[in-house]
């Protein structure tokens, strides 16, 4: 077996269909020699392409509703059982905004929905890490990645409460990165990715216009999901052992660019 991730075992959250970022990461990890488990909400698995895609990479599926503590504990237990021991990496690619789905603007949030959004989109990472920590489920020098977006720093109106959720997610990455780094040298990082046209992205009003804006403000253009997958594989590998507690921008330069000729030309 060869590849960056030869012999490594990992859990991939959030494979829904071929457009899913998580699917592209899973494919890349498999190509690099990893063994995988997929996990998603049981309803999502039933009504999506998860099962068909899991077969393509020989990944068992363990259902988990991340809003339920017992499901996450069960997921970790099942992973340990399926892998026959500890695993090496995990991708957290989980998000849902109930207020966006119910068309509540940010100044009219339903707080029950808000709590659910934060729970699913951010606290779920803490729950997973806490379960892994308690069960000593991740090998030394393991790696956990969470996908985030720059809206945690800069506000895009249509991203609504998800900006808050991503800010919380990035905070959890840093805080738990400290705990897990000290205990087991496990890295925890977030990747702030360019907008990607997925089922989730399509739920953001005006997404296509924003994608175009982002592409024109990024010197390299929007980073494709396939390139993100390779970057994730590298961050799961032993080539990045001392990178932790970081929010890494994989965005074609968007986060550092104030203006480009393409953008300013629209005002001339």
């Amino acid at each position: 077996m060869s590849g960056l991730l030869a012999g490594k075992k990992g859990i991939i959250f959030g494979v829904l269909n071929e457009d899913s970022i998580a699917w592209k990461v899973a494919k890349q990890c498999k190509e690099e020699g990893a063994s995988l488990i997929f996990t998603n909400n049981p309803l999502a698995v039933r009504f999506s392409d998860t099962e068909a895609l899991a077969k393509l990479v020989d990944a068992p599926i363990v259902g988990a509703d991340v809003s339920k503590d017992e499901d996450i504990l069960h997921l970790v237990d099942q992973a340990l059982s399926i892998f026959g021991g500890k695993f090496d990496f995990a991708l957290h690619s989980v998000a849902m905004s109930v207020n966006i789905r119910k068309k509540h603007p940010y100044h009219e949030l339903n707080y029950d929905y808000y709590h659910k959004t934060l729970d699913i989109s951010a606290v779920s990472l803490h729950k997973f890490l806490q379960a892994c920590f308690a069960k000593d489920a991740i090998n030394e020098w393991g790696s956990v990645l969470a996908l985030t977006f720059i809206a945690s720093h800069r506000i895009f109106p249509q991203y609504n409460e998800m900006g808050d959720a991503k800010a919380l997610l990035e905070g959890i990455v840093r805080s738990f990165g400290l705990c897990y780094g000290e205990k087991k040298h496990v890295r925890v990082n977030s990747i702030s990715q360019s907008p990607v046209k997925t089922t989730a992205g399509g739920g953001i009003p005006g997404f296509d216009h924003f994608w175009n804006f982002s592409d024109e403000l990024s010197p390299l253009g929007n980073a494709p999901a396939a390139d993100l997958a390779k970057f994730c594989a590298m961050l799961f590998s032993d080539y990045s052992r001392f990178v932790t507690m970081q929010n890494i921008f994989h965005d074609g330069g968007f986060s550092s660019t104030g203006l480009t000729e393409k953008i300013i030309s629209k005002f001339i």
Partner: protein, 136 residues
């Protein structure tokens, strides 16, 4: 299958195993086209109707719109209820749990309005209990 049971097992897979990437569009269209009443189905089992309403009411912020279902055929009714495709699948699963039935993915794809959902559930209940007529 109860939701909690699905967690304990490798997830139940819909029959056929075919890619369901077109399924989302079917579900969204079904939700948009669905009306909670139909002029063609004048009689509803009040118990079954009440139970279905109790399921749907959890997913809408406008429960008052469920009060007078009979006779309403407003095409925008579902949009007014603000139920999306995620709510729709939750409604399907809750329906399965409440009535201890299984709705196959192929059957879900054929649902285009509330009457069809109602009739499907009624038929499945009857098949489970052939000696009791539409007993919800």
């Amino acid at each position: 299958m109860e939701k909690k049971d699905a967690v304990k097992k490798n997830i139940p897979v819909s029959p056929g195993g075919a890619a369901k990437s077109t399924f989302k569009k079917v579900m969204v269209d079904a939700v948009k086209n669905s009306a909670l009443v139909s002029k063609g189905n004048a009689e509803y089992d009040p118990i079954l109707l009440k139970k279905l309403k109790s399921i749907i009411v959890k997913y809408t912020e406008h429960p008052e719109l469920l009060e007078d279902i009979a006779g309403q055929t407003n095409e925008n009714f579902i949009e007014k209820l603000n139920i999306d495709s995620i709510d729709f699948v939750e409604i399907i699963v809750d329906t399965e749990e409440m009535f201890s039935i299984t709705i196959e993915d192929e059957e879900i794809k054929k649902l285009t309005n509330f009457d069809e959902l109602y009739n499907l559930i009624q038929a499945k209940i009857k098949n489970k209990n052939p000696n009791s007529a539409s007993k919800a």
